[in-house]
Symmetry: C2
Subunit: 347 residues, 2 copies
Amino acid sequence: MSKVMINENEVDIVIGALNPDLTSFMEEWRPVFSRFHLIIVKDPDLKEELKIPEGFNVHVYTKADIDKIAGSTSTSLLFSGYSCRYFGYLVSKRKFIVSIDDDCVPAKDDMGNLIDAVSQHVQNLETPATPFFFNTLYDPYRKGADFVRGYPFSLRSGVTCALSCGLWLNLADYDAPTQALKPTERNSRYVDAVLTVPVKAMMPVSGINIGFNRELVGPALLPALKLEQEGKVRWETVEDLWCGMCVKVVSDHMGIGVKTGLPYVWRNERGDAVASLKKEWEGVKLMEDIVPFFQSLRFSEAAVTAEECVIELAAAVKESLGPSNPVFERAAEAMVQWVKLWKVVKT
Amino acid sequence: MSKVMINENEVDIVIGALNPDLTSFMEEWRPVFSRFHLIIVKDPDLKEELKIPEGFNVHVYTKADIDKIAGSTSTSLLFSGYSCRYFGYLVSKRKFIVSIDDDCVPAKDDMGNLIDAVSQHVQNLETPATPFFFNTLYDPYRKGADFVRGYPFSLRSGVTCALSCGLWLNLADYDAPTQALKPTERNSRYVDAVLTVPVKAMMPVSGINIGFNRELVGPALLPALKLEQEGKVRWETVEDLWCGMCVKVVSDHMGIGVKTGLPYVWRNERGDAVASLKKEWEGVKLMEDIVPFFQSLRFSEAAVTAEECVIELAAAVKESLGPSNPVFERAAEAMVQWVKLWKVVKT
């Protein structure tokens, strides 16, 4: 990839704080984060005071801010647990957002160099995506790569990239059953590639390590699907999977792209997979209904912006999935509320 | 990936010989090829005697064999140049075929180990493909990998893999314009991944380094699209791109998968990109019509086998593309002839 000059003023790093002491997290990320503006959103369920080391350009949002902006209790409930980060997406005024879980630290590449995950996400977002034809040599815009023989010239300019999904070394983002079956398995394979996920192909987007173009698809990165027994470890949640399905179908409809691959982050242990097993089954079962729904979804031509797409999507969720499970009905309502909130904050 | 036990009796290695002296090619591949049965098909345009070193289990086919089996001159013309390898596909009686261009030698991985491209292709073909949902951690069946959180359990058994597309270190498979613009560019990036190309996503399949399940999709790997000025270097041909589009749409319809990524081969220089530029434009221009045609193609439910799909496909090519360019009309005819030939040889 040709090295992209990054304008720091276009980037917000959003961190959802589920743990009060961010000292070691922030210190590990200091070489990367110190150039950028940070938005830290404290999980409203967290009682203790946040500990944040000095020397960062940071804005902290707490339950008081959420209540003030989101208003009613039912709306502000959207922002608990892992979903607190979405409040950061809402209040950001910048073009790009990069969000990384607070149990992840910078990874190293195969040469032992610290990976600047923020710059890689921004590079992914600044260079075009190619969702309409697959390039077997991965990202054609990367230095040393190109389009392979047979790639239509008319598609080589690509389209705007909406979302960049990064990966995880050490503890991969498995569900509780998989993690419980393979308690000692750690991901050590560094795959040096970024690729565009083809149009119409669906994928499980993890919220652990992502970047996106907020101006283009911000309204589609939304907190909506909350499990009855949602917990404070990733494998007890599906909010990011739902959000990922939303942003992928919206991007497909808008003719823009989603990339996956680099950057990696180093993900540390958190939670007990075996203990989570009971809770997890609800989310696992929901995916069996969610995936076919999103795969068959079609938007009207009238839906042009991400907001408009989300409103159509919410109606479809309510109609098609709502009757089977109240969790979907609540998700549809949350999506409508989210777009309302987005419009209020943005105007 | 869990190491697959390979049954050598199920594999044919097919080499199209465009150059008479295969000595160094075969010697470089000896550690890999010597376990397997080889089918070498001599380009019927090649006048010189083939030079093949001793110590291989090899069956050589020449113009005399092609004429005997393919009969009429018009049919046997299908098998000239790079397309001579298809004759090997036709006469093989084995489950898997691996085919590698005669200007490629074994590559080394990042640790400096010789890559056994044949075993990797067979592993790709023996383990399931996952075309219906994208796994962000690449091949979930590989050792140390799995399905990521959110991947529907109902899709985790995957489907049969039909085609395995390998890649190229040193000289990547660019078209003549790209190669001419970047004369010194060499591919040195070893991406340690195999992934399934999602259903409905189209790709440029290169014939340089592939493996496939002959029993399942053999009839769809066919010689059909021949340029007026087709030459003896890859970037003067499109036969493999056409064949790749055919096998991808057929696999999609049959509910089986196509993988890309590992194994790499080391591709040596051949040909002069600048000299090829004039010829190449015809192929480049054709792709602009070919891609939308294949992207919108739908088979009838009556087409169940690869043979039946190819016959339907040939009719669609004749009808939709034929009027725009006689090269497509000839391709449609060649596809029908190929299936006839396939049936004769197989019964």
